[in-house]
Amino acid sequence: MARVTTGITSSHIPALGAAIQTGTKGNDYWGPVFDGYEPIKKWIYEPGNMPDVIVLVYNDHATAFDMNVIPTFSIGCAESFAPADEGWGPRPVPDVIGHPDLAWHIAQSLILDDFDMCIFNDMKVDHGCTVPLSMVFGEPSEWPCKVIPFPVNVVTYPPPSGRRCFNLGDSIKAAVESFPEDLNVHVWGTGGMSHQLQGPRAGLINKEFDLNFIDMLIKDPETLSRMPHIQYLREAGSEGIELVMWLIMRGALGDKVRDLYTFYHIPASNTALGAMILQPEETAGEPLNPRVVHSGHSLAAAAE
């Protein structure tokens, strides 16, 4: 039987990809960000931790989908997915290799569970999908595991509610558990944390909101999932709405989780960045040491 062993959250900021590409990831600005991911990278390459398959929840940033097709929940069921050209040429990273057996199984199961999925078989993936892979796996010539891209609309309003996302996660969990093959499955929730990329309010960061979100995600996702969209918009900036996707990951982990690692950094370009490793309590491993890392201005402010 397949199991969801781990949830990972990660921002998917395009500038992180650019930092890798331009060889600036060790500089003063980007160094602390990549340092904060180092424990995740180390952890995932340890024996037993490498997933067979990642269900990678992200939003397409007007890349595979334009104004002509706006699917709420999608799942990529193809053999592979090439990186998209988002205006500066495709990211020079390996193709994402899918897991059609598991992907179709999840798609079918979710539809039986009253989620109105949109299945895609020919789809390019953007930074939302590939930047988290780069941050966690570095720069291998091919990704070390299979990936099922799971795009969620958070661009055109209304996106799905936090509640709907949380329940979807629970159904993903059930779907994975009914897959007969013995697979270590991760669910990754990407995007966030607080940021706004548009208008005179661009640059908004809300550290209190973000840290509370992390806390509630671990301890009380049930309540967190009931937060209305307007609160994300007011508190976490217009693009902070991406955080609803973290609730899909969280829903897939069951009632109680252990937080193995939490990294929080301000700023990465326009954004407050969060990256976590969570595991279902019954099967959780040991927390990393240190268990919580803050850096950038988030650290400075904490030290005040």
Binding site: I13, A202, I205, H229
Partner: protein, 141 residues
């Protein structure tokens, strides 16, 4: 009828109205999506290298291929992102434009705030824009 049917429904008019209460922010609702349809589709076209070349050779001529309002054309030519968003543009679509220009998300986002790129970058390093006072126009908090 069924239990599911007795669910409490969100009032969509109230839901949408609240979005206008956030200072300096345009939420990409149906209304904006419809207004910006061609502007956003123009931006999407820049995902192809050959289109980027054509666009670079002659911005104005390229824009004639798209069913844009004069305001949208003007905004694109001036790279005025606030004006593009007023015309229904969405930043993820428009990112194809500033990426084709070789500009970063930070430069583009900063250009909408009235700050210089340096001032904006420094604000971010200092912890970003505080939400204090910019959560709600009406409630001023």
């Amino acid at each position: 009828m069924s239990d599911e049917k007795k669910k409490e429904r969100i009032d969509i008019h109230a839901y949408l109205a609240e979005f206008d209460d956030i200072p300096g922010t345009r939420v990409f609702t149906a209304q904006r999506a419809r207004k910006g349809y061609w502007l956003n589709q123009f931006a999407m076209s820049l995902m192809k290298e050959e289109n980027r070349q054509k666009f670079k050779e002659d911005n104005a001529a390229y824009l004639e291929n798209w069913n844009l309002t004069d305001a949208a054309k003007k905004a694109v030519l001036a790279r005025d992102y606030n004006a593009m968003i007023d015309e229904g543009g969405n930043v993820y679509f428009l990112s194809k434009l500033f990426s084709a220009d070789g500009q970063s998300f930070q430069t583009a986002a900063g250009s909408m705030t009235g700050m210089t790129p340096e001032e904006y970058a420094q604000m971010m390093i200092n912890g970003g824009r505080s939400p204090e006072g910019v959560r709600s126009i009406k409630e001023k908090y």
